[in-house]
């Protein structure tokens, strides 16, 4: 924890005490950055330090940059990118991407119209067992609370104990139990229970950034035709090699520039089929009535093991195909606790491949018009993975070969009937749950 203290201030766990956290294996490592971990720092571009240096034990730096509070950049700086003394000039942190994001945010601030009304908001947190993370997230939400009320709804997804309920009671937050195990069962429950016009879904392994609520509201106010707003996902910590690897590959980041996506877009191949670019399920908000009209989340995706992904890709795609607008708002950011162990990360790569191709199979079935686009998308995806394999062999790709191969294998398994297997599994879950 020492290495990344300055970035984790609002991420500290409260002492909810007694039983050890279920997610202990995920979070409760000693606190020192393990070998291969990066330091994570945050600076304002106006008060950059003259010199930036590695602390003992750090293999590199992750730097978050702000301009007048707005998020404008993120840099991953491996040891090789630093000078001989393991440091660099603070001023050279500001790269082209950051300068452009600063210009964008300054112009936005100068242009923004007053008086647009934001729809009412429900923040929905779906969690299974991980009460300590839920508590941490609820704490971060309390810190950003402004005058305007919003609902917080926790969905306890078939937990094996009642800790989540207790945490919610202590925080004065509504908690609903969903007995069917599976993230999309829980999300659909949230859509059914929410009172807000907009439901903002947050994964339990995130905390919200200080501007999250304000920026999320602004995005909805600016885009009354939006069906979905996604936000930036930054790392909470880079303590382990697994966390660094994930972020070096791009993490869940989708850039620092706002985007407004419609049903079509000029000169974009695979649009909107390649829906990974729109955001991540860890930080997305959706118009409640639109999701209801679309028939909710696909319960056969995001079921937890063995298919814990694809539900976000699917809902982004369906929102755009329904003719609604999808907005990416980098200022509505969360900090995500990446998996600490490489073994867990390897599993995650496999499930990304699996979730992606399950989403492809499902969409080709549900949306026959789009089949050629999805075929091209799959061809592109395998080509892209082949390039990564070649890149790895030449030493240019940071991701280890086993992870790349795992993701490809997940993709192949996914194309070979995983979606149907998942359907049979959830039918069994439904039959088994009274």
């Amino acid at each position: 924890m020492v290495a990344c203290q300055d970035a984790r201030v609002n991420a500290r766990r409260d002492n909810v005490a007694v039983p050890p956290p279920i997610s202990a294996t995920e979070t409760a490592t000693s606190g020192m950055a393990a070998a291969g971990g990066y330091g994570l720092r945050e600076f304002d571009v106006d008060t950059l330090p003259a010199r930036l240096a590695l602390r003992p034990g750090e293999a590199g730096l992750g730097v978050i940059l702000r301009d007048a509070g707005r998020l404008v950049g993120f840099r991953m700086l491996p040891r090789a990118a630093l000078d001989a003394d393991g440091g660099m000039d603070g001023a050279s942190l500001v790269d082209v991407e950051t300068r452009e994001a600063m210009a964008v945010e300054r112009l936005r601030a100068a242009l923004t119209l007053a008086g647009a009304r934001a729809p009412s908001l429900t923040v929905a947190i779906c969690s299974k067992d991980r009460w300590d993370w839920v508590d941490r997230l609820l704490g971060s939400l309390e810190a950003v609370r402004d005058g305007e009320p919003f609902e917080v709804l926790v969905i306890d997804n078939a937990s094996s104990h009642d800790r989540i309920g207790e945490v919610c009671a202590a925080r004065g937050v509504r908690c609903v139990r969903e007995p069917l195990a599976g993230l999309d069962f829980a999300r659909n429950r949230a859509i059914a229970e929410a009172s807000g016009e907009v439901v903002a879904f947050l994964d339990d392994d995130v905390v919200v950034d200080r501007n999250w609520l304000w920026a999320m509201r602004r995005a909805w106010a600016e885009n009354p035709d939006a069906g979905c707003v996604t936000g930036l996902v930054l790392p909470m910590a880079l303590d382990t090699e697994a966390q660094v690897l994930f972020e070096l590959r791009g993490g869940f980041r989708r850039g620092f520039r706002p985007q407004r996506y419609g049903a079509t877009r000029h000169k974009e191949r695979h649009y909107p089929a390649g829906s990974g670019r729109f955001g991540a399920g860890a930080n997305m908000s959706l118009r409640r009535d639109l999701v209801r009209a679309l028939g909710g989340f696909d319960e056969a995706l995001d079921t937890g093991r063995p298919l814990p992904g694809g539900g976000d890709l699917d809902i982004f795609y369906r929102v755009l195909r329904a003719g609604a607008t999808l907005v990416y708002e980098p200022q509505a950011a969360v900090r995500h606790e990446h998996r600490r162990e490489t073994a867990v990360l390897a599993r995650q790569y496999y499930t990304w491949g699996l979730g992606f191709s399950a989403y492809v199979v499902k969409s080709m079935r549900a949306d026959p018009d789009a089949r050629p686009a999805f075929r091209r998308l799959v061809a592109w995806w395998f080509g892209y993975q082949a390039k990564r394999v070649v890149g790895r062999l030449r030493g240019r790709e940071p991701t280890p070969m086993t992870l790349i191969v795992g993701e490809v294998w997940g993709g192949i398994v996914g194309l070979c009937g995983e979606y149907d297997r998942s359907h049979r599994r959830i039918a069994a879950v439904k039959a088994a749950t009274p």
């Binding site: 210009a103 945010e105 242009l111 923004t112 119209l113 035709d225 419609g262 877009r265």
Partner: protein, 407 residues
């Protein structure tokens, strides 16, 4: 799905969004299938975005984020390149070369006469005309000088215009262009820096109602969409030994001004290049000579003209083929000057390779729009070396002397 994207664009509306005024929603007109939104701030264009029907209408409240995103690049660079220093405005003569397009010329002259400040002179060069209509249009417009250049070729016509001009600055535009009222002022301002020999500006499509115009603007990239000021000096010519300097990126001949003394230094336009001869690139070859001589070229997007793109596909095909062929011949002309192998590598290998690769890719992807613009370019660049065999035997750029090169 959105296959063959550019083919579905026409008719495409054009909206000028002034970010200094109250913002309004962007909505397509009855028949419009897309909107080309151009964002202006402080009287200059700062960003653009093509919005397809599926992205429209965009409510007024959504415009700030869309505009800011589009303008980010230009705004980020702004300030690193300050306004040109104020000084006494140099005298400017505008040279318009035309050939049998009286209607276009009438529109062009009307826009030039509306300029404030007005140019010190307008010279219309009638290039190897078939009739006398052009002369009649010029006489009717008044305040413009009519000049006949019987030898066909844009370079001959422009050279005749330069010889007739007596001002410090010679500005060039084409007959299919309309200029903005502050064009003269914006184009002349950077000349306050004494080393600046050439200033180019931004070319905006006047209309995108036809498929051909949309293809030219969005598949070819029009005359460039750069919204940040740029400064080019001799170092711009230095690239890897195999890479030809990208002088064509400096601007467009339809919107440029050149200091008259620079012609005395490096010679006039090369009559082997340009429309009517090998096809194109007489402008970029002159920039190449200027940079080699150590002079400065500046691009300032605040100097804006509107260009009427070719409206039919056959004319577009001919134009693209001529562009590609002329570009190739210009590479030979550049090689003749500095004997650097990179120009020949580009003419013989790089251009054919990239066009061929683009054609194969476009066929594989079923991207008919891309294929439609690549095919004539591929043809043009393969013809280039043969065309060069023919043209390079002729004399190169004449000097700026009063008697001219009428040999």
């Amino acid at each position: 799905m959105n296959r063959c994207v550019a083919e579905g664009l026409a008719p495409c509306g054009i909206r000028h969004v002034d970010l200094d005024a109250p913002l309004e929603a962007l909505a397509p007109g009855a028949s419009e299938r897309a909107i080309y939104a151009l964002f202006w701030r402080g009287g200059r264009p700062v960003g653009w975005r093509l919005l397809l029907a599926g992205e429209l209408p965009a409510p007024a409240s959504a415009i700030p984020a869309v505009a800011a995103e589009a303008a980010g690049k230009a705004m980020a660079l702004d300030g690193s390149d300050a306004d040109p220093p104020a000084g006494p405005r140099p005298s400017v003569t505008v040279v318009v070369c035309t050939r049998d397009r009286p209607e276009d010329l009438r529109r062009c002259l009307a826009s030039l006469l509306a300029c404030d400040p007005a140019p010190d002179g307008i010279v219309v060069v009638d290039n190897a005309p078939r009739g006398r209509e052009t002369e009649a249009v010029v006489r009717l417009a008044g305040r413009a000088t009519y000049l006949l250049e019987p030898r066909p070729g844009l370079s001959h016509a422009r050279n005749a215009g330069v010889r007739a001009a007596t001002s410090e600055i010679v500005a060039f535009t084409d007959d299919d262009v309309e200029v903005t009222p502050d064009w003269i002022a914006r184009l002349a301002a950077p000349f306050a820096e004494p080393d600046v020999a050439c200033v180019t500006g931004f070319v905006i499509p006047a209309a995108l109602e036809t498929e051909a115009a949309c293809l030219f603007e969005f598949e070819i990239g029009g005359f460039g969409h750069e919204m940040a000021r740029r400064r080019f000096d001799r170092s711009y010519l230095r690239r890897g030994w195999w890479r030809s300097p990208e002088v064509w990126k400096i601007g467009a001949g339809a919107n440029m001004a050149i200091r008259r003394t620079a012609f005395a230094e490096v010679g006039l336009f090369d009559p082997r290049l340009g429309a009517g001869a090998s096809g194109c690139s007489e402008d970029s070859e002159l920039w190449f000579r200027l940079l080699r001589a150590g002079r400065i070229c500046r691009y300032d997007p605040a100097a804006v003209v509107y260009h009427h793109h070719r409206a039919d596909r056959a004319a577009l095909d001919r134009q693209l083929r001529a562009y590609s062929r002329g570009h190739s011949v210009a590479l030979f002309a550049e090689f003749a000057q500095d004997r650097r192998i990179c120009h020949l590598i580009r003419a013989f290998a790089v251009m054919p390779y990239f066009h061929l690769r683009a054609a194969v890719r476009a066929s594989l992807r079923g991207d008919r729009a891309r294929l439609a613009v690549i095919a004539p370019q591929l043809r043009g660049c393969l013809e280039g070396p043969f065309s060069a065999l023919r043209w390079m035997r002729r004399p190169g750029p004449p000097p700026l002397t009063p008697e001219g090169d009428a040999a």
